[in-house]
């Protein structure tokens, strides 16, 4: 039994195999005892889950939840609080004391956007940048996520990707007037490792303050901010993009709580 055969077994459990693959699997099962054992195990799982019946919630649960709702409607946040992770700590997830920070090596990784529509390949050479910085290839980990936006005459996108040690945000926009992109983050978990113009900008200023990176600029902008993961807290960012003081994008990306060891 090899990995490919095992993958075939699992895909069969998921109902993702083709007729040809099913036929091949039948043939393999006749000749490979180890594979047949694994097959029987997975079939046991399949049979057991097929028997699963969803449970009905207790009859009074809905009423209990409705009674427990606050009187006032959910607060609509017009201006996002800077310390969004603190709000998450208090309101979404159980607070956990930060008792132990662990250190990651702060090797600086320059990352670049992957999507050709996001950052055209001609603008940056991944091999050069990554190799020059002695960093690992950011592609080897999670798939980048891209969030396009278009509002108030501003079009652009935010790309997010992550490696084991770093968290990267790529922001692009094209606008005549000044655009402000404000990235807020949990300083317990992230530290700004590098900010870089991927594309020469006509005018762009970058400023960092505790827990905030702010980009202000006009024209065609492509900028990458890389964070090192430095400890426990929320790995994630809030990104607000404003045009003439009006938000065109307000998003929280991947707020994942890293707990102390």
């Amino acid at each position: 039994m090899n990995e490919h055969d095992l993958d075939l077994l699992h895909r069969e459990v998921d109902g993702l195999t083709t007729d040809a693959e099913n036929e091949r699997l039948r043939s393999l099962l006749e000749s490979d005892h180890e594979l047949r054992v694994a097959h029987d195990e997975l079939q046991a799982v399949k049979v057991a889950f097929a028997a699963f019946q969803e449970k009905e919630p207790p009859p009074g649960l809905k009423d209990a939840i409705m009674r427990a709702l606050p009187e006032q409607p959910p607060e609509v946040v017009s201006a996002p609080p800077r310390s969004w992770w603190a709000a998450l700590t208090d309101r979404i997830l159980t607070p956990r004391p930060v008792t132990l920070a662990y250190a990651f090596a702060l090797g600086v990784v320059v990352a670049f956007a992957v999507s050709t529509t996001f950052i055209p390949a001609g603008n940056i050479d991944a091999g050069d940048v990554v190799g020059a910085m002695g960093a690992t290839d950011p592609y080897t980990n999670d798939t980048p996520r891209e969030y396009p936006f278009s509002s108030n005459g501003v079009a652009g996108s935010v790309g997010v990707w992550e490696t084991d040690d770093h968290f990267h945000i790529a922001v692009t926009w094209d606008a005549e007037g000044d655009i402000v992109a404000r990235i807020t983050f949990d300083e317990r978990a992230l530290s700004v490792a590098r900010t870089e113009n991927v594309k020469p900008a006509e005018r762009l200023s970058t400023s960092t303050a505790p827990g905030v990176v702010e980009l202000v600029g006009s024209g065609s902008i492509e900028h990458v901010v890389s964070f090192a993961k430095i400890g426990s807290g929320y790995v994630g960012v809030q990104i607000v993009i404003e045009s003439n003081g009006e938000p065109v994008l307000d998003m929280i990306e991947a707020p994942r709580l890293i707990e102390p060891n």
Binding site: L6, D7, H10, V13, D14, A38, D40, E41, L42, Q43, A44, V45, V47, A48, F49, A51, F52, Q53, E54, K55, E56, P57, P58, L61, K62, A64, I65, M66, A68, L69, P70, P73, P74, E75, V76, V77, W84, A87, R91, I92, L93, T94, N141, D142, T143, Y147, D250, M251, I252, A254, R256
Partner: protein
């Protein structure tokens, strides 16, 4: 129900229409309740978790990003809450599970039970995180991509964990005597 339906409901809730939240409960309380059962393994705690999840959804609805599918956001909160609840119970649970592991094999500890109980018992041998992945895949029939978003892991990691968890479950189920029923 569609994405738009959810978003319309959410807008109504944000504008103060409590009846819209009741509709949201009708749509999703069963899902959340069953996810919680799958992770924590009992209906009593699942009831508490479901209530907590929906209160948090209500309180934080303004922070929901409509770029995501609502149910993914909801699942994410439900899984986080279930895992946190499980961690709070960990000391007691681990003692119980340790007792099972040291005093008897899964085969010996399996009482005469139906398939559902068997899978429920077998699930408890997985880590809470892997249990959550299995529950999302097999109880809720979510795609790897959706599970990856909810668990904040790559699809590759989800797949590896799911494969490993399923094989472990299979071995336990067969030891429990499921082979005769295949």
């Amino acid at each position: 129900m569609t994405l738009t339906d959810d978003h319309i409901l959410i807008e109504r809730i944000l504008s103060g229409d409590r009846s819209a939240f009741a509709e949201l409960l009708d749509r999703y309380q069963k899902v959340v309740y069953n996810v919680a059962i799958g992770v924590v393994g009992n209906q009593l705690d699942a009831e508490d978790i479901t209530q907590t999840v929906f209160l948090k959804v209500y309180e934080n609805l303004a922070t929901y990003n409509p770029r995501y599918r609502f149910f993914s956001w909801l699942y994410r909160i439900a899984i986080n809450e279930s895992l946190n609840a499980k961690k709070r119970m960990r000391q007691t649970v681990e003692l119980d599970e340790e007792a099972i592991r040291t005093d008897s094999t899964p085969e010996e500890s399996a009482v005469e039970s139906d398939l559902e109980n068997q899978i429920g018992e077998a699930l408890m041998f997985l880590s809470p995180e892997n249990r959550a992945i299995v529950v999302l895949r097999h109880y809720q029939e979510l795609s790897y991509r959706e599970i990856a978003y909810i668990m904040d892991l790559s699809e590759t990691k989800i797949k590896a964990r799911l494969y490993s968890a399923r094989q472990m479950l299979g071995r336990i189920l067969i030891k429990q005597g499921l082979r005769a029923e295949l």
